[in-house]
Symmetry: C3
Amino acid sequence: MPVDSRFFASVGAVTLGKWAEMTGATLMGNPEAEATGVSSSASAQAGDVCFYEGKPAEAAQISGQALACLVRPDAAEFLPEGVAALVCDAPRLAHVRASRAIYSPRPLTNPGEQIAENASIHPAAELGHGVVVGPNAAIGEGTRIGPGSVIGAGVQIGRNCRIGAHVSVQCSLLGDHVSLASGARIGEAGFGVIGTSTGAEDVPQLGRVILQDHVTVGANSTIDRGAFDDTIVGERSKIDNLCHIGHNVVMGRSVAIAAFSGISGSCIIGDGVQLGGRAGIADHVKLGPGARLAAASGVFRDVPAGETWGGVPARPIRDYMREVAWLSKQTKARKKDT
Amino acid sequence: MPVDSRFFASVGAVTLGKWAEMTGATLMGNPEAEATGVSSSASAQAGDVCFYEGKPAEAAQISGQALACLVRPDAAEFLPEGVAALVCDAPRLAHVRASRAIYSPRPLTNPGEQIAENASIHPAAELGHGVVVGPNAAIGEGTRIGPGSVIGAGVQIGRNCRIGAHVSVQCSLLGDHVSLASGARIGEAGFGVIGTSTGAEDVPQLGRVILQDHVTVGANSTIDRGAFDDTIVGERSKIDNLCHIGHNVVMGRSVAIAAFSGISGSCIIGDGVQLGGRAGIADHVKLGPGARLAAASGVFRDVPAGETWGGVPARPIRDYMREVAWLSKQTKARKKDT
Amino acid sequence: MPVDSRFFASVGAVTLGKWAEMTGATLMGNPEAEATGVSSSASAQAGDVCFYEGKPAEAAQISGQALACLVRPDAAEFLPEGVAALVCDAPRLAHVRASRAIYSPRPLTNPGEQIAENASIHPAAELGHGVVVGPNAAIGEGTRIGPGSVIGAGVQIGRNCRIGAHVSVQCSLLGDHVSLASGARIGEAGFGVIGTSTGAEDVPQLGRVILQDHVTVGANSTIDRGAFDDTIVGERSKIDNLCHIGHNVVMGRSVAIAAFSGISGSCIIGDGVQLGGRAGIADHVKLGPGARLAAASGVFRDVPAGETWGGVPARPIRDYMREVAWLSKQTKARKKDT
């Protein structure tokens, strides 16, 4: 999808010829075609340059919308019709470095400036002492923002929101009646690391956070912006303190998440899901609507709708309980024997 | 207990007639009686309106001090003598919505105001740049508050406290020699969610936090205020970074809690309890004095005084260790067989 | 090692005679010898006073560099040649209390002062609104600091760093290209508690944090300063949100640590180690270079270089997976039988 220019400055559209030059890749396609975005290979849309490092033959399955794809030589021929190939040896690293050259996060605020001149703040919004608002941000009617909070460049906040002290929001769009407790961190860069010959590098994070109406986020919780796409929290979802929602997570409505729970990148969480305290979910996992996780569970596989799972690795709660009881019985029996 | 007017504004005493009108409940009792507080059914005191959704016959066991109780039709007759019944189909939701209409948290501070005029700050207290102090707050002699910290309306802080940067404190009373590391969040709303026909709603949190003398709280840790009652941390208890103490927890003296530990709502933690890192305790659990939890344990049952437990679900540490060793031995044996 | 006077004020060098007087210990050594630092018994250097409470005969193994050591009567004779004995009944407590009397952390900033006059801020550094900088702090060329962040007294920050909103840094030295996301807490006091006859007391934390070039720290993560020595994060190590690095941890290069991971005090983490989400490591554990921990693992023993471990307590991942599978199979079989 196109990178949102409210949050990221760019050098503008970049021709595929220029992409080839920046990455050292060999272009199989039209050098004059203009790229207007970057994306993952699964979700590429028109104008996007993506990358692919999987099995060569499976390159056929990437999004056929992509304008171009950085690929290894042996995968180039398998790309869908109409997707230009940018052939190189390290596609992901090339994509990372070019993305970093093309897009850069706008600074939260202008140096030294408290309220940007062109910020749009409704007269019936209330700002605590020391609140800082970046350029092009907007704050709606009836919204209250606690002392010291920072609303970054381009952020849009709806009406009647309640924002505590020392909250920071960037690269985000918030609906109405959103509550953010003190110290919540909305829209920070997701955790992406790539190994290189000179050591680990951060992967640019060019997406956003969308918090729908009536979302509540607890104290010191963090919701990272997407890598390319958006991290989305659905209407009326309620998140406790010290939780973490990773990049690209898509969460449904009325989800309830207790303290210390963590949802790794790109998970899909259905409506009405409930997480006990300290539940953790590995990346790319799906929880069906109404699924429930017991406290302290760790999920590495998809959980079907309506089921309750527990344990690490999580399995259906009855299986988990049976295992716990059986193990206890075995060792108690042995204790008696001796 | 009465809602503390330093932290919550109210519409004043509300007659039971008015409660019936607000909730649509049928009143069995004196419509002129005045309610002065809200509470849980277990801890209701004189003047309080509570709610009950348990088994009808057990309604007899709620606090007989309550002025009135929202109950379902089949439980009304079992309420203790003298407790008026407010009969309706969804007592908890009715209680939530009426509470929200009657009480509202006072804003942390007045909009734009740095130090409230009527705040009482001892001349020998030291405030860092950007500290914000709300109306009616008090800060004692010799206390130092780091840059940017926010002391909310009505908060009382004793003498010789050490408060770091970007700390926020609300709805709280602090003793002397209390240390709060940077980013600690004291007195945020506890996590309470209720399902309704239109989705999840937040439950009002109308209690306080009490931190006794010499309590230490680590960086970015959170201690939520009670739902109706107080969250209490006893003298000389020491809490590490990134810990969470839920609403209504009552913690004794010299409790030590290592990083990432979490104590869910309404737990009772005895004097001298020690929690290893990432210990988690489910709600309403009691830990006897001197109990110890191994790192990474998850407790779902009461732990007797002086015992050490470990594992998830936690059990006595010897049982846990025996199970771990036995399981390892079984599978190693099988490995050899094959 | 000597306590860094940029971060801690001291009463100056203290003679062993004075140490004896302060602690009530009996000195076996030269009362005129001057102590210039405090340390643990393992890492004591010239001029340091340390303490020892282990088995008497093993007192011979403490650092022979120490100027003096607080010991129990039965261990005094075993100290290495040239280490003066300060004989008392509670060596650690005596050390704690004397350290507290001799050294005190400098306040983050002067009361009310935003930018200390003698702070050294490069003209090409950019500071957001409300940034506070303490005395003797230094901020390098091209570094950007987000709104409201607090840079404590004496802190040194290199070039081209990216620091978010509401970050606090104290007792720390940062290299170039360091990124700290919003709400990160660098250099807070580590968690040290000692029991006394009147209850728990905090142990002074007199070390520093060193973040080498290209280190990235996620939102609301915490890295505590050392107790006596330094907490060190090596070049290009990448730390996700809501992680905790305890006092005295020494971490190598290009280490990657996912959300909620915690490393307890004095661990040694080799180059290129990778931690899945919510991995926890008990204190004093060593992870060899290239070791990997599965998500949700809890490590209580050293992990050899290059190995992948999982589970709680963590063991080699194959053993762990075999146990999980075997347990599941046993209980499923029993289920069929019944």
